[in-house]
């Protein structure tokens, strides 16, 4: 589904990603861990098409097609979803209305008819029930004044509605208390089916107790310095990253 080949990318002349290769197939869950500032969020942003980051060499193929030059909205419409580490607050834009616009944009792209507000509300309610979210999330403005945990829940809600083929969740677990983490993880597990793929960026083993990764990668200074199976996450949690970076 996703093929990253020797990716070098950066911002304003600073190279942040220094040769990343990663292959994610349908049905796989990959976890990316690594110290602060190692480039995890940058990778997520490059994948979602952020204009501040330029690819200097290498390529990203999504379903066999090069993503270079594909706009952020087209990536989203084609099934790539990024859950933000720091979701953006958008005052003045009603959350439910925004969610309906996003949902309908996807339907239109698929050549289907838009959902009217009533039908959409039913759908939205069902997803919110699944994530244990109160009605206030509909009434409030998009992430405006949301707590850290509320923002992460709202990101998960968006993912639940948009049902992306590939979701990249950047520290969606940070800021969630243990109950919220369980609910969010359950939600993600329900959405995750064998024709989809997940990349989880996290610092904590805790999340990986609920969502079981097939592979764990360690990113350090813009390079993947180690890849392994889920046991690697446990080792990292016990020993930190030092034993890897000192090699």
């Amino acid at each position: 589904m996703l093929e990253i080949k020797d990716l070098h990318a950066g911002s304003e002349g600073n190279e942040i990603l220094k040769g990343i290769s990663l292959s994610v197939k349908k049905g796989e869950i990959h976890a990316i861990m690594g110290p602060n500032g190692s480039g995890k969020s940058t990778l997520a942003k490059v994948l979602s098409g952020h204009p501040a980051y330029k690819i200097t060499s290498g390529e990203i193929l999504f379903e066999g097609k090069d993503l270079q030059g594909v706009s952020a909205e087209d990536r989203a419409l084609n099934g790539i979803f990024m859950g933000y580490q720091y979701p953006v607050e958008v005052p003045g834009v009603n959350n439910a209305e925004f969610l309906r616009m996003a949902y309908n944009a996807r339907l239109v792209k698929q050549g289907k008819e838009e959902l009217d507000p009533m039908d959409f509300d039913d759908l939205l309610q069902s997803k919110m029930d699944m994530l244990g979210m109160e009605v206030k999330y509909k009434e409030r403005n998009l992430n405006d004044g949301f707590s850290g945990g509320e923002k992460k829940k709202n990101e998960t809600l968006q993912m639940a509605l948009l049902e992306p083929k590939l979701a990249i969740l950047d520290e969606t677990d940070s800021g969630l208390d243990i109950d919220a983490l369980r609910v969010v993880a359950d939600g993600v597990n329900k959405l995750y089916t064998k024709d989809k793929a997940l990349i989880l960026i996290t610092h904590y083993q805790r999340l990986l107790d609920y969502i079981k990764p097939d592979y764990v990668h360690v990113l350090s200074k813009g390079c993947i310095i180690k890849s392994g199976e889920k046991g690697l996450a446990l080792e990292l949690e016990a020993q930190g990253y030092d034993w890897l970076t000192k090699v």
Partner: protein, 437 residues
């Protein structure tokens, strides 16, 4: 009479004197109105039309306007259907319609207003000492030449009295509509509202009409007596030149809440002159302008805190695209003795193009020591992080920008005093930005 002022007057002032003479030749006018017109003309000639350095017109280029030779409008006709379409659904039986500056009884409907609202033509009301004293006092203190010009040329207007303890429970709409004219014409509509003690009124003023050669120069005077509450809105959606002056005087514990929207024009300008004269008066000014192409909308605000414990809050939002221009020139004067004044002014400008312009000139003059006065201004473009966030959810670049632009205006639209007014603003203002899908 006063020949000295004429001698020093320039050509534009002479042109107004010419119009004045023509308007006075009609014999309908009452002696008291004639006296008022004359006083206002003298004021105009003393004030003179602004030159480029005029401090009240720092941001407003009036040269073209002053150079244009206007004729006084003869009242044209407007089809009833056209008016009906502009009357808000909740004001069908509580609307006053002015056509080309003159009150039109046939198109108005006051059946729902009740006995607590008294309407009198200005020419008749001005024979009462209270009305003429009030108006002559405004002339004496007038500082705006265009408002003086209205006074010199107004041939009739309307005086509204909301009697003591009356709550008008339907919103009153005042519609100023201009008919088409190929040549430059001038309208000088005027209303004067006395909101008596403990009365309550919701009034929505709308200036409408697409006449491209028309100069609407309006004055609204409102006296808000003790404990009276006025909810006021004004929507400028009219001709090439639009000037209006809103002057309020607020007594003890009165409240005046105003929400204005400007759609811009060749040159549109609102002048607010607000007097808080007794303790506990509360004033709120909200204003939104949405400008594109070469439209201009300017606000000139003077708030006078003359008594203690009064509050004033101002919130201005301007959305400027293309070669649009907006300006807010706002002064709050806290007069001696006006202790415990609370005054706030916030201006947010959203600039959508490289060629647009938005000027702010906030000014505080404080002559009391125990006061809380703040002002702030922001000027910015759309937040690119927000644009990107929306795009990563599948919204197109254009949709994302439109949504964010709309949300900037929407928060002000929600201050409109009724859903009908809000919808009207939305339809006109957001449509201009292609933002009303």
């Amino acid at each position: 009479m006063t020949t000295t002022t004429t001698e020093t007057a320039n050509r534009p002032e002479l042109a107004i004197r010419d119009l004045f003479n023509k308007s006075q030749s009609g014999n309908k006018t009452s002696p008291a109105l004639k006296k008022f017109n004359q006083a206002a003309l003298e004021k105009l000639e003393a004030l003179k039309f602004p030159d480029r350095k005029h401090e009240m017109y720092t941001f407003v280029g009036t040269r073209e306007l002053v150079a244009t030779e206007f004729a006084l409008a003869a009242s044209g006709t407007i089809a009833k259907e056209q008016v009906d379409a502009l009357i808000y659904s909740n004001s069908k039986n509580s609307c006053l319609v002015f056509v080309d500056g003159a009150f039109c009884e046939e198109l108005s409907d006051i059946s729902a207003l009740g006995a607590g609202v008294r309407l009198t033509p200005l020419s008749e009301a001005i024979e009462q000492a209270e009305v003429s004293d009030y108006l002559l006092a405004t002339v004496k203190d007038e500082n705006d030449v265009f408002s003086a010009m209205n006074g010199a040329l107004v041939s009739d207007g309307l005086v509204l009295e909301i009697t003591e303890n009356t709550t008008v429970d339907v919103p009153l709409q005042i519609l100023y509509i201009s008919s088409e004219s190929k040549t430059p014409v001038l309208h000088c509509p005027r209303i004067l509202i006395f909101a008596r003690r403990s009365s309550e009124l919701n009034v929505a003023v709308k200036f409408s009409g697409g006449a491209t050669s028309c100069f609407v120069n309006a004055v609204q005077d409102i006296l808000v007596e003790e404990n009276a509450h006025i909810t006021y809105s004004q929507f400028q959606d009219d001709s090439a030149w639009h000037f209006s002056k809103l002057r309020t005087t607020q007594k003890r514990a009165s409240r005046f809440i105003s929400s204005n929207a400007m759609s811009g024009a060749h040159l549109a300008r609102c002048h607010y002159e607000m007097w808080l004269t007794e303790p506990g008066a509360e004033l709120q000014l909200n204003s939104l302008s949405v400008l594109h192409k070469e439209e201009q909308a300017h606000n000139y605000v003077q708030i006078h805190h003359q008594a203690e414990h009064c509050t004033s809050t101002q919130l201005f939002r301007n959305l400027v695209d293309d070669k649009g221009r907006s300006s807010i020139d706002g002064t709050v004067v806290v007069h001696p003795g006006a202790q415990l004044t609370s005054s706030e002014q916030l201006i947010n400008n959203l600039m959508l193009s490289d060629d647009c312009r938005a000027d702010n000139k906030p000014n505080l003059k404080i002559y009391a020591d125990d006061v809380k006065c703040t002002h702030g201004a922001t000027v910015g473009q759309l937040n690119e992080d927000q644009v990107f966030y929306l795009k990563t959810r599948g919204l197109s670049e254009a949709t994302a920008r439109t949504l964010l632009t709309r949300s900037f205006a929407e928060s002000m639209i929600q201050t409109a005093p009724s859903p009908q007014v809000a919808e009207d603003w939305r339809n006109v203002l957001l449509k201009k930005l292609g933002a009303n899908e």
